[in-house]
């Protein structure tokens, strides 16, 4: 069975790589199969890991517990299970997403969207500010606290000449890049020069990102070639 799986994977890998020659039915078959299986798999996982354990099971247990309460057989377990009834509210709000299917009730979709955006913004804003603005600003300035001998720091904690150069370069990069995105002032004179330096920093950043992307894509190819050579060709011995 494992060998069969390896052969299917090898066939689909070769189907996908056949696109490098030109578009062909094998490539399209593998592409459509991939999209279909991915969507189907995600739906099944969503039902088994989301809908059933988080909604269906607690609710059905709560309904059973409610019936037990009604007939007067109360136990600590049934009391605990009754808490599942609270899930009716989020489930009902979630179901409002399907109001989209009825043109006259489409407006109801605003309720879950408003709750999602409100929750998202409320949770995200303070944490994102802290992590991406305050901590990053501190990270940019903090190295200057370790530059001796002007600051009182132990010799072993002092920055080396190279680190000091790096810290200064980073501050220049941050200021110039932010200047490039600062449109409230016309980019003329010194502001224009600062923003041009900012562009240079941006280009270096994009270049690094592009180089890393090429590296990442090659890693995927190396993994596939390794699979074809070691696992697929290696499986020939089991068959022939």
């Amino acid at each position: 069975m494992e060998v069969f799986g390896i052969w299917v994977a090898a066939f689909l890998t070769l189907c996908i790589y056949s696109f490098l020659y030109r578009d062909n039915p094998f490539y399209r078959f593998a592409e459509h199969l991939f999209v279909g299986i991915s969507v189907g798999y995600l739906i099944v996982i969503g039902i088994h890991e989301g809908v059933i354990p988080l909604a269906w099971e607690p609710l059905s247990k709560a309904m059973n517990a409610l019936w037990t309460e009604i007939i007067g057989e109360t136990t600590p377990e049934t009391r605990k299970a009754l808490r599942g009834l609270f899930r009716i509210l989020p489930i009902a709000i979630g179901l409002l997403f399907f109001a989209r299917l009825s043109p006259s009730h489409t407006w109801l979709i605003r309720i879950p969207i408003a709750i999602l955006i409100g929750f998202g913004a409320g949770v995200a804003i303070p944490n994102v500010l802290q992590a991406n603005i305050f901590a990053q600003t501190r990270g940019t300035i903090e190295p200057f606290a370790a530059i001796g001998p002007f600051v009182d720091v132990p010799p072993e904690a002092r920055l080396s000449t190279f680190d000091i150069f790096g810290a200064i370069l980073m501050v220049i990069g941050v200021i110039c890049t932010l200047t490039y995105f600062f449109f409230s002032v016309e980019h003329r004179g010194p502001i224009n020069w600062l923003s041009k330096v900012g562009i240079a920093f941006l280009m270096i950043g994009f270049g690094a990102a592009f180089g890393n992307t090429v590296m990442g894509r090659l890693a995927l190819m190396i993994h596939r070639v390794g699979f074809l050579i070691n696992d697929w060709i290696g499986s020939f011995g089991a068959l022939f």
Binding site: L20, Y21, S38, Y41, L42, I45, G46, E49, G50, P53, L54, G120, V123, A124, N127, V128, Q130, A131, N132, A135, Q136, R138, G139, T140, E142, M170, G205, A208, A209, N212, T213, V214, M215, G216, R217, L218, A219, L220, M221, I222, H223, R224, V225, G226, I229
Partner: protein, 271 residues
């Protein structure tokens, strides 16, 4: 000659790339590897953890991007098991549980680690944000059972673990933006120490967090995996992948230089 070069069929480049990937795979060549500071920091952090400590590994990558994070996961798990550091696995990606469970069991078997005592795999729960925030209060409120549907209260390793306070480090093995989510919510809100092992595509986004101390260590792609393997004196998939990748990178650099030289000569002639 120049015209021919400028109008070269792109499929020739594909064949050249295929050759520089296939040949080093068939004839392995070991190139020297230098360990970078971010990988060394992660290794040192785990090395200094006392036996019985716990790290959480988030397998936040999919089947389409496992080439780079998987060797990192193998190397770090091997290190943890050899030191008696317990590992809790989980994922924020719906299509990863099977991969991660299989990988953890394989590495554990190779290192004689016992499920439930040395490691546990919690699986996947939907809603990344709610999962991260929920585990900060109570892990069992998010994962009532592990991946095999065993109640978390019945797993001996989890007896004294309630939330992030009992976890010494979170290692996010990522191919997307999950590391930023962990930093924003788990590190900022709960003070959980975070390290990352990321695919090469997102390395550039991670360095600001490393510089600010929000990440205590970072493994960048195949390079990070190979560096970690070197620190462990092991020869794994990361080392093999990096050796092969080095030849492909060399070819791409040569092609970029040739392409630029040809472009500028062509432009000068046209002018």
């Amino acid at each position: 000659m120049l015209e021919k070069f400028m109008n070269m069929d792109r499929r020739i480049i594909f064949i050249l790339v295929a050759l520089v990937v296939i040949i080093p795979t068939l004839i392995p060549i070991r190139l020297p590897i230098t360990v970078s500071e971010p990988t060394q920091k992660l290794y040192d952090f785990i090395e200094e953890l006392p036996s019985g400590s716990t790290i959480m590994m988030a397998f936040d990558y999919g089947p389409s991007s496992l080439a780079e994070p998987e060797p990192m996961a193998k190397a770090v798990m091997q290190h943890c098991f050899s030191k008696g550091v317990k590992v809790i696995g989980m994922t924020l990606y719906p299509n990863t549980p099977t991969l991660a469970d299989k990988l953890m069991r394989k590495i554990a078997a190779e290192n004689n680690a016992v499920y439930g005592e040395d490691y546990v795999f919690l699986g996947y729960r939907p809603g990344a944000l709610q999962v991260i925030l929920g585990m900060g209060t109570d892990i069992s409120s998010v994962f009532e059972t592990d991946y095999q549907k065993t109640p978390i209260t019945e797993i001996s390793m989890m007896e004294n673990i309630t939330n992030y306070d009992q976890i010494d480090l979170l290692l996010d093995l990522a191919s997307g933006s999950s590391t930023e989510t962990w930093i924003i919510y788990a590190n900022t809100r709960y003070g959980l120490k975070i390290a990352a092992g990321v695919t090469a595509v997102i390395i550039a986004q991670m360095y600001p967090y490393l510089q600010s101390g929000q990440l205590i260590g970072l493994m960048p792609g195949y390079l990070g995996a190979a560096q970690y393997e070197k620190l462990l004196n092991a020869h794994g998939d990361g080392t093999v992948g990096l050796n092969t990748a080095s030849f492909a990178h060399l070819l791409i650099i040569v092609l970029v230089i040739l392409g630029n030289v040809a472009f500028f000569i062509h432009r000068r002639r046209e002018a």
